[in-house]
Assembly symmetry: C2
Homo-oligomer: 486 residues x 2
């Protein structure tokens, strides 16, 4: 193989030889142990940091050199900088008092899995590039699919299959592109500008982004209005009338993204009846249960995804609530060949007997990128280290805490909660005041014009005491604001 | 916030409480140290494993349970399974004898950075979600940009900017979508099916995939023929005549992906004159130097990207040859607003004062996904732990070894190397035989119909002895095959 060196000589006179080994086992061991202790200390103290970082824009360049060093620096110096300059700039998603957005529940088992994956650093694009990476992923996706009681058509054992993506946006993009190309194959590529995609006004922005990337005309992106009367779920009637209007205009319905557990209010779209409408008009249905899908490992919550059996694809993020660190989005499809048709490239330099035999899965054809990490290791370690009983009880604990929090809110007559009339500006001020305290971090949503404070319970370390404290903080800051104005 | 718990009661009678702490500092410490030692032992032994895994398709499901366990299993049991069932199924990219594809050079510093990122597990989509994650990334990208002597227009200090993507495919997809939407804004969205993209027949398949995902008509994907006479670089004249033909057909030229260091032969496209042609026709030029860009940190190799100053975007993979584990693709653009226009979504639930102020970078708008890891940590640790002098010497060492290997091949009169007539079937048999030995792993390419064995030197642990051994293995297996036939 031609090499860069054939064309140009290194300046060998001025150069000292490279005589360090960046994977020296002794040094790896020494420094690795240092970091483990560093992180164990971090977890010990994480509840004490201000949850939302208090730094100002531009704080970091002021504290660090403006160029990369020529010579090595010891790990101890670097860790000192992490302590002094990085940690104050973190918003601590692992704090028990992190109640914003959705949780990013990490765990020791997941961390260990990520370490193994990083240590091996195999690039498992094709089966041959590391058979274990592919086969463990297929196996674990079948494990999880059975736990979620997905219909067999989504499992490898039923000619469907699962794949680990980075995020929901990737999962939606891959399925949308598969659906798009399948449709364009029937109607001709020149009709791409007529394709229409559907969601509700509660659907996550990841869907809008995926549609933009896939080349769907932004004018053909339908965010169908939902209302309180249907608990902000997408109405099948609204979907059907919107589709019919589009058809009358000469447009071509393509794809529905249904949601189980929306971001603003954890609304549930009625999957079964939406799929019925979608099938009548030839739409691909993807079910995004990024957050709520995690709860469906518990039998008593499984009904939230009833109807998924009629969908074409389904995804949820183990990196939200299943004790797995980012990134780990689980996607199942009924028809892998649709994905593969759109996403496959098979250049000569990747050809190999196993792929040629069609007896193996090459996950490069199920995702955006060629290269991929061995993500299955962390999910496998989580499932085995904790076991399904514990994982279910972990979810149940948080559901129970969320109910306790709701009861506290209801008990206090001076507060009215989600979706009732209230002074948006006061609530915005209240949220800022709560977050500036550093004691807890919550986020917000707008629901039918009402500014709503969201309290999302799901961080690994969140216990009853943190929820009680969170409510106390809300009360104190609300009282202070009310006293200021009245 | 409404919770799943409001709608359905957990089956509390049948359920034991969740009383383990998945981030317990003591247990984290104990298990973390175990894995560090496990991986240190792995690096100690990695040279002794067969480089290419010897397992057969379907080997793993036979060895592992078919469903997830209900109860926890100790880490020691799981690690035993990793030893017995996972490691034999790995193709060892960290072996000093891994000479296939391109390297995936890992290092202790990068591993530590990934550990910190995984441990903190912050989801830095917006500045506010963890200011340090955003600011360290911007800083490190400016550091690296200066080391590569990128024109100031690519740096934040010059109103451009850098971002860490997962892979080259993502980098190309994001820039292609930005270019597409910019063009469609001028000519009308209904013309999407007329857009044409250009590369050479040596351009990486990632470009084809990105174009497919972005909705470019596959008929408008031009892989312009290259020849040995121009060392497989893309000829500006060929580009221009192809563009002119497309314009005559009523099509609209959009995007050129130029490559520095192609996969098959490390060919270099002539950036300067290609950019001249591209500018005349209003094309966005992306420079993909996935592998070779790493070498450009050395002043004596910097000339390979001469001409990049006229391009619109530039990327290389630190996860190939800059001692950084997957994934870490460095992308710079001159006009971040073009990326942001295509990739930005700003739903109410993410609104915050810092983003509203426009004083901060929100990297969610520079990439496909919303969620993102704190990738900058590992790159920062690599640059600081080794220093630029060592990183340059690391590259120089491999370039020198590649030259030595080339000399060995040239010295031996019985071998003719790249691009000369030879028996493809014999070479294919030779490569299979070499790889089946388990002693080294190489891959192949087809160059003008010739089957070429690639020897890509760049793994972290590869030293002179491994290159000498690799040549010995080639000789032995070639002799055996020749003896069999003659």
């Amino acid at each position: 193989m031609a090499s860069l060196g054939c064309n140009s000589e290194p300046q060998s006179d001025s150069v000292s030889p490279f005589n360090i080994n960046p994977l020296d086992p002794q040094e790896f061991r020494r420094q690795g142990h240092l970091i483990i202790d560093f992180l164990a200390d971090y977890y010990q103290n994480v509840a004490n940091y201000p949850v939302l970082s208090k730094v100002e824009p531009g704080y970091l360049p002021k504290s660090l050199p403006i160029s990369a060093p020529l010579n090595p620096e010891p790990i101890e110096t670097i860790l000192q900088d992490v302590k002094e300059h990085i940690i104050p700039g973190l918003t601590h998603w692992q704090s028990p008092n992190f109640l914003a957005y959705f949780p990013a529940a990490n765990s020791t088992a997941s961390f260990l899995g990520e370490m193994l994956s990083t240590g091996f650093n195999v690039i498992g694009f094709s089966w041959i590039a590391s058979p274990a990476a592919t086969e463990l992923e297929s196996l674990v996706m079948d494990w999880l699919g059975e736990i979620l009681k997905l219909p067999k058509a989504f499992l490898f054992s039923g000619n469907g299959g699962g794949v680990l993506q980075g995020t929901t946006c990737e999962a939606i993009l891959c399925t949308l592109v598969a659906a798009r190309d399948q449709k364009l194959c029937q109607i001709g590529r020149e009709n791409i500008d007529k394709l229409v995609v559907y969601g509700s006004d509660q659907t996550h922005s990841a869907f809008q982004k995926a549609a933009q990337i896939a080349g769907i005309n932004p004018k053909n992106f339908r965010a169908i209005k939902t209302t309180k009367s249907s608990s902000f779920g997408l109405s099948p009637d609204s979907l059907e009338s919107t589709i019919q209007l589009d058809i009358e205009k000469g447009l071509i319905p393509l794809f529905l993204c249904a949601t189980v557990g929306t971001t603003s209010t954890t609304a549930i779209d009625p999957l079964g009846s939406l799929c019925d409408v979608a099938k009548d008009y030839g739409l691909w249905v993807h079910v995004d249960s990024a957050y709520a899908g995690n709860a469906c490992i518990c039998p008593e919550f499984r009904h939230f995804i009833d109807g998924v059996e009629s969908a074409d694809s389904f995804s949820f993020n183990a990196h939200k609530w299943l004790l797995t660190n980012l990134d780990c989005c689980c996607l199942w499809v009924k028809d892998p060949s649709a994905l593969i048709k759109s996403l496959s490239t098979y250049p000569e330099f990747l050809r190999n007997k196993a792929s040629d035999s069609n007896k193996v899965v090459d996950y490069k054809d199920w995702q955006i990128s060629l290269s991929r990490k061995f993500r299955a290791l962390k999910l496998w370690l989580v499932l085995r280290s904790y076991g399904m009983n514990n994982l279910r009880n972990f979810v149940r604990k948080h559901v129970k805490l969320a109910k306790s929090f709701e009861e506290l809110v209801c008990l206090d007559k001076s507060y009215k909660h989600v979706c009732e009339d209230c002074a948006n500006e006061l609530n915005r001020e209240l949220l800022d005041s709560i977050n500036d305290s550093g004691v807890v971090y919550m986020s917000h949503a707008m629901v039918e014009g009402v500014f709503v404070i969201r309290c999302a319970i799901g961080a690994t370390l969140t216990e009853e005491q943190h929820v009680l404290m969170a409510w106390k903080v809300v009360q104190e800051h609300a009282d202070a604001i009310l006293n200021k104005y009245w």
